[in-house]
């Protein structure tokens, strides 16, 4: 078991249990009562910690090395998954996966960022940081889904789009921009779920949909707390403060109307019970798709645009100059 720094009290309790059991095995003493007490105190401590998570702690949980990634959820939730590779232009991006699958027997298209599960795979998956090829592969698959009238599901988990030389050369910005534009216009239902890290344009590049959901221990922001700290505080030491200020948790994001839904995680985070988490996600996807199918394609697109158009905060003063065309002499 891997403990995060704020789980220290839990780690201590687990250590105590371990020592107790060792002692009992050695000395043949019955410690079951003490173990039971410790177990109870573990549950209590866990609830206390998880009921009061700070934004930075959620960021830590979103990056937990044992956290389930896209391919795990695909395996647990869908059947007949056939992975499809390549953007048909340059190469196959291993940081973005996707393919055909069945959800409760119904054909869907799934795409998502993929992080590596061990040191070697982390390199191969480029730590979940996609190149333009990844975004273009995702778009290619989404376009195919649209052609065959299959709902699209995207799973978001990235520390950002890859800031590399080739990525810039091949148009990282254009690839992301194109996806935003095309996803707005998709005729089929699009559901996006942030399952881990939702960093900036790299996340948004597969994040425009009818329903956008965040899992409980994830974050979604214009910049990572670390980078924000280094730019605005000119030091790496303010990441906790930046995490607070950025309002990047599911609570903030849903209260702002920037995400539509919240998907609960087990106490202890998604990694503490991945199967249960996958089940919750499956239920969410199933319900969301059936609800969206009731809406006509045109209405879905209109609603998507309306939802996005409302995002923003500003003051609007009433003035004589509100830009109404009637006041413009230039128009003839």
């Amino acid at each position: 078991m891997q403990f995060l720094d704020f789980e220290k009290p839990l780690e201590d309790l687990y250590t105590q249990i371990h020592k107790l059991k060792e002692m009992s095995a050695k000395n043949k003493v019955d410690v079951s009562n003490s173990v039971r007490e410790l177990d109870a105190s573990i549950e209590k401590t866990r609830s206390q910690i998880y009921d009061n998570l700070t934004p930075w702690q959620r960021v830590q949980l979103s990056r937990h090395p044992d956290r389930p990634y896209t391919l795990y959820y695909i395996e647990k939730i869908f059947t007949n998954f056939t992975e499809l590779y390549g953007d048909r232009q340059v190469k196959d991006d291993k940081a973005m996966v996707g393919g055909m699958a069945l959800l409760n027997g119904e054909p869907v298209m799934v795409v998502g960022h993929q992080k590596g599960i061990n040191t070697k795979m982390r390199q191969l998956r480029n730590f979940g940081m996609a190149n333009p090829e990844g975004y273009r592969k995702a778009l290619r698959l989404m376009k195919m889904a649209e052609k065959f009238n299959r709902p699209i599901i995207t799973l978001i988990d990235t520390p950002g789009a890859f800031p590399g030389l080739e990525a810039e050369e091949r148009g990282q910005a254009e690839a992301i921009a194109r996806n935003l534009f095309e996803m707005v216009n998709m005729k089929v239902p699009v559901i996006c779920v942030i399952i881990g890290e939702g960093a900036s344009g790299g996340a948004l590049g597969i994040g425009v949909g009818d329903r956008v959901a965040m899992m409980e221990n994830t974050w979604y922001s214009v910049i990572s707390p670390e980078s924000c700290s280094s730019i605005l505080w000119r030091s790496w030491n303010f990441k906790e403060k930046a995490a607070e200020q950025l309002k990047l948790t599911y609570k903030d994001m849903s209260s702002f109307g920037l995400v539509d839904d919240i998907i609960p995680e087990p106490v202890g985070g998604a990694h503490s019970d991945p199967e249960k988490t996958a089940e919750t996600l499956k239920t969410y996807l199933t319900n969301a798709i059936s609800a969206l199918k009731m809406i006509s394609p045109d209405d879905r697109i209109t609603q998507r645009i309306e939802k996005l158009s409302k995002m923003g905060f500003y003051d609007e003063t009433v003035t004589a100059d509100n830009g109404t065309p009637a006041q413009i002499d230039a128009i003839t």
């Binding site: 254009e174 992301i176 158009s309 003051d315 003035t319 413009i328």
Partner: protein, 289 residues
């Protein structure tokens, strides 16, 4: 839910004419690139281009409007949309204070100014970013003004140009800033459906979320010479790959070579080029009714 974000106020009637600070002709300007000096008047008359090395000095909406709109006549649109510190964001300074300071020093409301005027006698809407306002960063006001400019163009059947010049997202608006990328892209789908042309002009610098949304979504994407145009900035890339970057990397000419620009327009020929291009879009085809 979003209606709470709009606070209407009867106060604060805004004027469209900004106060213009006259600078004496005698003042000298030193070219940041070749260090050649020119008087402020010479620079203005040469459209803020260095007469020696062709360096395009960074200018803002007011200067672009003067260059593009006939007789420097235009109407400012949506000046009543002003920024606010909704999140109460505080880093080394409160965001609210940053806004006030920027407004004071620039005389602008935010980093985007929208103007409607005539360019060689044809109606044209130009939304231009101001780099001097918090680094031309994209916050809610920038997105909302583009959004309204698009509605305005659709209603009046007008072509739109956005002049980008931006350090990227406005971090102090966090995810709201991020969502302006999706919002502007969404609105651009409506402009596209209305078959109205959208020209994106990228100027030095165009970076981050601005590049990765409306700047790269033009029917034609054009740029001024030698402008930095990128998603991730050169410093970040250098840190990532731990190698020196090739000369000219992420500059206009580099992007043209890699297929991401339709052409590069020197500021001196910009108005004529745009006029030619817009004519192609806007002219009624003969014999079709």
């Amino acid at each position: 839910m979003s209606s709470t974000w709009f606070r209407r106020s009867k106060k604060g009637i805004l004027t469209t004419t900004e106060e213009k600070k006259e600078t004496p002709d005698g003042l000298w300007h030193k070219c940041p690139q070749c260090k050649t000096t020119a008087t402020v008047k010479e620079l203005h008359d040469n459209l803020y281009i260095c007469h020696k090395c062709n360096y395009h000095n960074r200018i803002n909406a007011k200067e672009y409007f003067e260059i593009l709109f006939d007789n420097n006549e235009y109407k400012l649109l949506f000046e009543n949309i002003v920024p606010k510190d909704f999140l109460g964001f505080v880093d080394m300074k409160p965001y609210g204070a940053r806004i006030e300071e920027a407004q004071k020093s620039t005389g602008l409301k935010d980093a985007m100014t929208v103007g409607h005027g005539k360019m060689n006698e044809k109606d044209f809407v130009v939304a231009c970013m101001n780099f001097n306002f918090i680094g031309g960063s994209m916050g809610s006001v920038v997105g909302e003004k583009i959004s309204r400019a698009i509605d305005y163009c659709i209603k009046n059947k007008l072509p739109l140009m956005v002049i980008s010049k931006s350090g990227g997202a406005r971090m102090m608006e966090s995810a709201f800033s991020l969502m302006q990328m999706a919002k502007t892209a969404a609105k651009l789908t409506q402009l596209a459906k209305a078959q109205l042309p959208y020209i994106s002009l990228m100027t030095d610098p165009t970076t981050g979320g601005v590049t990765a949304s409306y700047a790269m979504l033009g029917d034609i994407n054009i740029a001024e010479p030698n402008a930095l145009i990128c998603f991730a900035g050169p410093r970040v890339i250098k840190e990532t790959i731990k190698k020196d970057l090739p000369a000219g990397f992420q500059r206009s000419e580099f992007l043209l070579e890699h297929g991401f620009l339709d052409f590069i327009a020197d500021r001196k020929i910009l108005k004529q080029k745009l006029t030619t291009v817009l004519e192609w879009y806007m002219i009624e085809p003969a014999g079709t009714h």
